[in-house]
Assembly symmetry: C2
Homo-oligomer: 536 residues x 2
Amino acid sequence: MNGNMMAYQLTLTSMLAHTRRLYPDVEIVSRLSDKSLRRHTYRQFFDRTRRLAAALDKAGLRRGDRVATLMWNSHAHLEAYFGVPGVGGVLHTLNLRLHPSELTYIIHHAEDRFLLIDESLLPIYDQLSRDVHFERVWVISPSGKAPVPFEDYEEWLGAADSDFGFPALAEDEAASLCYTSGTTGKPKGVLYSHRALVLHAMAMALPDQLHYSRHDVVLPAINLFHANAMGMAHAATLVGAKQVFPGPYLQGEPLLDLMEKERVTIAGGVPTVWLSVLESLDRHPNRWKLMPELRVQVGGSAAPESMIRRLDRYGIRVIQVWGMTETSPLCTISTLKNGMEDLPESKRIEIRARQGLPEPFVDLRAVSDDGEVPWDGVTLGELQVRSPWVAAQYYKFPAAQDRWTDDGWLRTGDVVNIDAEGYIKIADRTKDLIKSGGEWISSVDVENALVAHPDVREAAVIAVPHPKWQERPFAVVVLKDGFRTTPETLHDFLAQKFAKWQLPDAIVFVSELPHTSTGKLLKSELRKQYQNWTWT
Amino acid sequence: MNGNMMAYQLTLTSMLAHTRRLYPDVEIVSRLSDKSLRRHTYRQFFDRTRRLAAALDKAGLRRGDRVATLMWNSHAHLEAYFGVPGVGGVLHTLNLRLHPSELTYIIHHAEDRFLLIDESLLPIYDQLSRDVHFERVWVISPSGKAPVPFEDYEEWLGAADSDFGFPALAEDEAASLCYTSGTTGKPKGVLYSHRALVLHAMAMALPDQLHYSRHDVVLPAINLFHANAMGMAHAATLVGAKQVFPGPYLQGEPLLDLMEKERVTIAGGVPTVWLSVLESLDRHPNRWKLMPELRVQVGGSAAPESMIRRLDRYGIRVIQVWGMTETSPLCTISTLKNGMEDLPESKRIEIRARQGLPEPFVDLRAVSDDGEVPWDGVTLGELQVRSPWVAAQYYKFPAAQDRWTDDGWLRTGDVVNIDAEGYIKIADRTKDLIKSGGEWISSVDVENALVAHPDVREAAVIAVPHPKWQERPFAVVVLKDGFRTTPETLHDFLAQKFAKWQLPDAIVFVSELPHTSTGKLLKSELRKQYQNWTWT
């Protein structure tokens, strides 16, 4: 027997209309590529978004059609975030850092009909235009006039119906599409529903999660084309918070300038962004007056304890999160439980350096060859998750269905331990884990130890096949300019921290390591290179 | 085209399992009817709830079967809140204050199969038992042994399967049932789905709404049988907050004792409960040391400004909410917007005395004969709402379908104005509103003015048919013992505040006013009594 409640749908449009009515004068501030600031209110944002929806409708957009964006973080990208799904289309955020051949593949696979693009990114379009065809291309130009032969976004919006009524949508309908830039295999698309994005925003906004409020000022220093920018724009819109978009300027100084000027209370991004912020703060410790209790949500990769401590000293509180494109993305958030504020600092930092507790309506488990591992803070297993905002399959990619277990959990590919309180700690990617004689060795742990050596700039530790142990750890190291050390010295340095069997059996020096377009270490490349290594 | 996300269901069981895993040692404290305190942890609560589900399953409960409760607020009632829906049953909370004939009607209409009852309430059961039949009756006894011939709840749980697995449920399935005790017509049932209760809990827990956190200690001083107790137990369970149940002891002193002892941070109840708390505080201003920033959510009827001010002085912050049985119940919550904390106190109190802003995913409008009224803080209209947690119909009562508009909104029956910021203010019930010569007069406003006179104890203002004006206001007044005044004096007193056409055309004195079983003024009775009044 079903309840007798209204079949009210959880859609982005409903979220937007609510915020328009209650917070019409709250601001959305954008830094454009010419460095000027543009200010809109939610009232204007709503009107512009409605015009975008009307214009797309008039352009012949049908329910479920894909509209691609090649854009930095700006008010216009936010308009696409709500306007495209609002009219029943699917927002396809293209990662502008990908190689043109990858973009071409993705655009073809997604069958994108239209493109919205920042004027400053037209050189990327030029590289693509021979191989892909969009029916129409609209250009967002800070000068207010797109170059010939492109259509100007502002002109197009200006001509659109200002009284357009958003269509009624079902919450399970697709709202947006994002491709994972995996280090192996073809990029795969994740097709988010309105329901997933709405529930994701509600859950992350809760007081014990990331605590989003209409009193906040939210700055996504993570690109909107990266896995929904950690949900920041959706959650800020849900609660009616002021939003600040930094455009392409994610370096320390311009970010600090913007955070001070606009009184930002929540920012978010990958660790490298905050390292850049730290460098600027260290250089000019008294230059910026930031909001007290400024919080930064850090995801993408783990924030080291040292970074958390250093930001603490400037009154900036790191909150780690974990997620991936397949999971909308947030699944875990590292805030302290009741009573933990009274723990000694070292213990608190240790907990905060974990990737956190599962949010409500996220089920997680860590699974090893022996089944589900205990919550003991030690035993490693692959993290598997279930949630209303976790994908059940890739978009048109049935061959990758082994990414899900038979009982319906997503295999994340991340290896974790879970402590007794439920906080997860990412140890490695499954494919980077080294399986030596039945024991697992975390490549990340050994890499972190190597870069702690004063002579080392960067290090990668990979598994190389071994006749006796199946696999053994193998270290590839880049030294800092002008520094010299020997493999033996590094070996002895590591031996202070690791058991003998965990130490790399070989350490080689190179001048550079391979990276993906998004800056991640390309270990698959290294594995290929050293697969036939002859152990001595 | 639908998104590719998991069809993960929003159920009470999922909420419960999450809290069990993350907050096993957080407490649930109950005051039993013998005044002793019982303490459980969420771990124990989960185990007991699972046993309850197993025992109901063994008793032959089928999906959708109704299980009635006649219980005060206690751990056992919370177990029923989750255990009954957890096994696919429908929790039917009976209002123990209703007349036995009403209870009989409701139990028959709901077709309840089983009953869970507090031992102290067996006298009510005795009054019903001739007219209703439950297949089995389980008695919760503080002494640990139910009187013959009843089955003992603890014994029954003790014998149940401790490893029972909750069944997979769909979120649209019915979870609970509550009847409205309207002042007119038959009681009508509202059948809540898991989805509605989950979304209701998530929305109310948000930072700008009621801000429920695992750091909170939550005390529902509103009965769990009243419209889901304003969602307090669900939201507290969602976030893993400590819960404190006061049993039948909702008077000022025992409540204050419990709030101090258990360090309560959020309490909730109807205004009369807080008036009783205020009286105790005024008598013994230094006796209790309450938590700083103790918040109380006040619903059921409006909290007068004076009450908000008086509680402020004791550091207790009133947050008004509005809702009804048909709406799960919360739809609006009166917290201040950004910047309003800087307004002068009188202005802040005026806003806080409104019933608040709509929560996310609550659409509201006020409709008069001329259509939707503007948000001007003056114009009155009937409040109409839509939300995933608002009923679309009554349980087995198609005759009442005119309660919903043709376009699917619930007619709340409350008359409100909405100010420019979106805060609603309840002016009246539609049926209590007086329509004089095309203008509306709020009976509540005139009543409030009358009771502000030092001689007046209670007052009711009703509409009485009038040959020329259709209806005119008519006041029925109870004077305080020993006080004497004249209708003319009261008329002049009112004339200082109201326009001439808003003044009652007659003021009569009586010794007592009629009330419903829940203490609400029974105006339908008065209207009947004075319907043939001859105007002079």
